[in-house]
């Protein structure tokens, strides 16, 4: 149930916090927060493979009247330079914003900005 008095939490999650998690723990953490009506901004986003797993897990958890899915926007993984490839450095996913689909809407996205809107009248559950 939506509780307007509680407002909407927008949580910025640090890279360090995300790196503490395994992939499964990270996805579980994200989905739990989103299902609780929070919007997350991840300093280091998810890899494409993690994003696909998140979509898969989201579909498994959809409840038709309370959780319809997620809104997710981010920038692609950084391309590793020639030197980084030689040194075995992996590509890092970049900043990503994720929230409940009934709360967060993407307005516009380009290479410099992701513009989103939080729908008025909704709030943390």
């Amino acid at each position: 149930m939506v509780n307007k008095d509680k407002g909407i939490s927008v949580n910025l999650v640090s890279r360090q916090k995300l790196e503490e998690f395994s992939t499964d723990e990270k996805l579980e953490f994200i989905l739990n927060e989103i299902r609780n009506g929070k919007v997350l901004v991840l300093e280091n986003g998810l890899t494409s493979v993690e994003q696909a797993s998140l979509i898969q897990q989201t579909m498994e958890k959809i409840e038709q009247d309370t959780f319809i899915g997620i809104e997710m926007e981010g920038y692609g993984e950084e391309k590793a330079s020639f030197l980084q490839k030689i040194l075995g450095k992996i590509k890092k996913p970049r900043m990503t914003v994720i929230g409940p689909a009934d709360l967060l809407k993407t307005v516009r996205k380009d290479s410099n900005m992701i513009q989103t809107r939080i729908i008025p009248g909704r709030g943390a559950r």
């Binding site: 493979v49 319809i68 689909a101």
Partner: protein, 218 residues
């Protein structure tokens, strides 16, 4: 499998000569024309069709496979198993089926439930395809997270991708936008509905999906 086992041997042959038979998934968000394109391909090469199409999103909710579709390009050809996958989405709201498309609550809920299962099935199929024909609607912004996620997954798996910029029969289509959004992959403008430029798409399918298997790695 040992160094000279069957698996290694076929892998070496494949690296040298390229593929002769490939499992190709038709992927994309809902309502971009995946099944219309699958029907076009099958009609042109087998005389058959893949499935029904509808303006209501998530019409295809179970992946469908048509085996042994031989597509020719001049003197070369490629045998393909074509898999038409359900549209991938991050959200499915049954109320949209009711309010926008006039389905009853019961029908809408059933469609939404089946659609969630379809998305899961599509993602699972990614593990089992040799290449992907990624269908995008050339009248829409291509920079959606679903498109970016699908392409990122295929790149991570080193799978060949061909982007079909569909619906170029529409007045507001802009295949050039798709080309500039994904310059690292071939983009072929096509109308699955009218068949416009389908021959060019087939030619690129044979070339792109016959490619020799590359080593995996990131």
């Amino acid at each position: 499998m040992g160094l000279f086992g069957i698996g290694s041997f076929s892998s070496i042959i494949q690296r040298i000569f390229g593929k002769k038979h490939a499992k190709i998934g038709i992927y994309g968000p809902p309502n971009v024309g995946k099944t219309t394109l699958a029907n076009r391909i099958l009609r042109d090469w087998t005389g058959d069709i893949m499935g029904s199409v509808s303006e209501i999103p998530h019409e295809t909710r179970v992946a469908k496979c048509k085996k042994n579709v031989r597509v020719e390009n001049g003197s070369s050809s490629l045998m393909m198993d074509i898999i038409d996958t359900p549209g991938i989405a991050t959200k499915i709201d049954y109320k949209e089926f009711m309010n926008t498309f006039g389905l009853s609550r019961e029908e809408a809920k059933k469609r939404a439930k089946e659609a969630t299962e379809g998305v899961i099935e599509s993602i699972r199929w990614l593990e089992n395809v040799d290449g992907v024909l990624l269908v995008m609607d050339s009248t829409q912004d291509p920079f959606t997270q679903v498109n970016v996620t699908i392409i990122g997954n295929l790149e991570a798996r080193n799978l060949p991708v061909l982007i079909a910029a569909n619906k170029i029969d529409m007045e507001d289509s802009s295949p050039a936008t798709l080309k500039s959004a994904f310059p690292q992959h071939p983009v072929i403008p096509v109308s699955a509905l009218t068949g416009y430029n389908a021959e060019n798409l087939y030619s690129h399918m044979v070339k792109q999906f016959s490619k020799r298997k590359r080593r995996r790695g990131r």
